[in-house]
């Protein structure tokens, strides 16, 4: 059982919730008009803000194994923590797509040094996306589209690297949930045919095709 003091200490952690400096500055300007600042870049606060913006800017394009990559991951993780539970699978799929995109760029450049960290990042991210999908047990059209994009990208990267990145498969999870969902619905004759075809593709492990087919039913 926590003491009152411990609870108060925990409450005070919330002081770290702060608005973005840029927003604070722009809102004040919007309400009160522009303040005459002649050499803003000489002010320490501006220099600090500029430095952070440059740092963030550099980090957004960085790849695994590069110095600013940690900042990029830190910012992304910061975003995921406060995203609503039901939105998390979409965000994790987006992040997994990003990791595969990074891996694809590294593979294209044949940058051997960065290849191992990039594969690990992609592997972890795809596993995280799968975990979230299994946990949420809910899929919608947007998730299906993102999972399809991820599956295609994964296949593409695996073909280029000539190796399997991971056994985890978000597309399979989404395909399974979608099939189960459509089986419970009343479908037209054509839709039933598409569903049967999709089930066949699922058996053959062609999850991208399953998603493509089932997305046509949902339209």
């Amino acid at each position: 059982m926590m003491t009152e003091k411990e609870v108060i200490e925990k409450i005070r952690l919330l002081r770290q919730i702060k608005p973005e400096k840029k927003w604070v500055f722009l809102t004040k300007e919007r309400i009160l008009g522009k303040e005459p600042i002649f050499f803003p870049f000489l002010k320490p606060a501006f220099a600090g803000l500029l430095f952070i913006l440059i740092l963030f800017g550099l980090s957004f394009t960085s790849l695994p194994g590069e110095p600013f990559y940690l900042i990029k991951k830190l910012v992304e993780r910061g975003q995921t923590v406060f995203v609503p539970e039901e939105e998390r699978p979409k965000l994790e799929l987006d992040l997994a797509n990003k990791r595969l995109e990074e891996l694809s760029k590294i593979a294209e450049k044949n940058d051997v040094k960065k290849l191992a960290p990039a594969i690990n990042e992609a592997k972890e991210s795809v596993a995280q996306a799968t975990k979230n999908l299994v946990k949420s047990k809910k899929v919608d059209k947007e998730i299906a589209k993102k999972a399809l994009e991820l599956e295609k990208k994964k296949k593409e990267v695996e073909a280029s690297l000539q190796t399997k990145i991971t056994e985890e498969n978000p597309a399979m999870v989404v395909a399974k949930y979608l099939i189960e969902d459509f089986e419970k619905r009343t479908l037209t004759k054509d839709q039933k045919q598409i569903l049967e075809k999709a089930k066949g593709c699922f058996e053959n492990g062609d999850f991208a095709k399953v998603l493509e087919l089932l997305l046509t039913i949902g339209q």
Binding site: E4, I11, Q16, K18, P19, L70, L74, F82, V83
Partner: protein
């Protein structure tokens, strides 16, 4: 006008973080918190510059305006006040290392979740007294209660939060 602007500029700098945090903890969305905070200061500035209605206590006026806007927001949207989080990233501190930040974020989310499950008066009492460190008299005024009644409320609020934290 310049004098008024200068004066209000100081008020803005002093309270913007507190009002943003207060709103954010109620709406759980960075964008909505930004909109409502901005509107809070805009409305206060309108009253402040016109001088028709004297603002006795700026902090109380700001919190009350923010509360009204939050109520209007939920009324318009037809939403319940307890909703799931939808935060952008107002708190990522690049100075912390990744592991520390992750632990901190998860702990903050736990507290935020527990706090959001309390009654509105309990939430406000905790935010104003422990987070924003307003004097007890001011918290009492904001809650429209006597000081002893406010002390009791704060004590109950902490107890309720502790119970929620055990469950979250």
């Amino acid at each position: 006008m310049d004098k008024l602007k200068k004066e209000f500029s100081k008020i803005y700098d002093k309270y913007v973080e507190k009002i943003f945090r207060f709103v954010f903890l109620k709406v759980n969305s960075k964008e909505t918190a930004e909109d409502l905070t901005s509107e809070t200061f805009l409305r206060t500035w309108e009253v402040f510059k016109n001088g028709n209605q004297k603002i006795e206590n700026v902090s109380a006026f700001l919190y009350q305006t923010a509360r009204n806007l939050i109520t209007d927001y939920y009324r318009e949207k037809g939403k319940a006040q307890i909703i799931s989080p939808d935060l952008g990233r107002p708190i990522a501190d690049p100075r912390q290392n990744l592991e520390k930040q992750a632990i901190l974020n998860s702990e903050m989310e736990r507290i935020r979740k527990a706090l959001s499950q309390l009654d509105e008066d309990y939430q406000n009492a905790i935010i104003w007294y422990y987070l924003d460190e307003l004097p007890i008299q001011e918290v009492a005024n904001l809650l429209d209660r006597t000081v002893p009644a406010t002390r009791v409320l704060i004590s109950r609020a902490i107890k309720a939060l502790r119970e929620k934290l055990e469950k979250v």
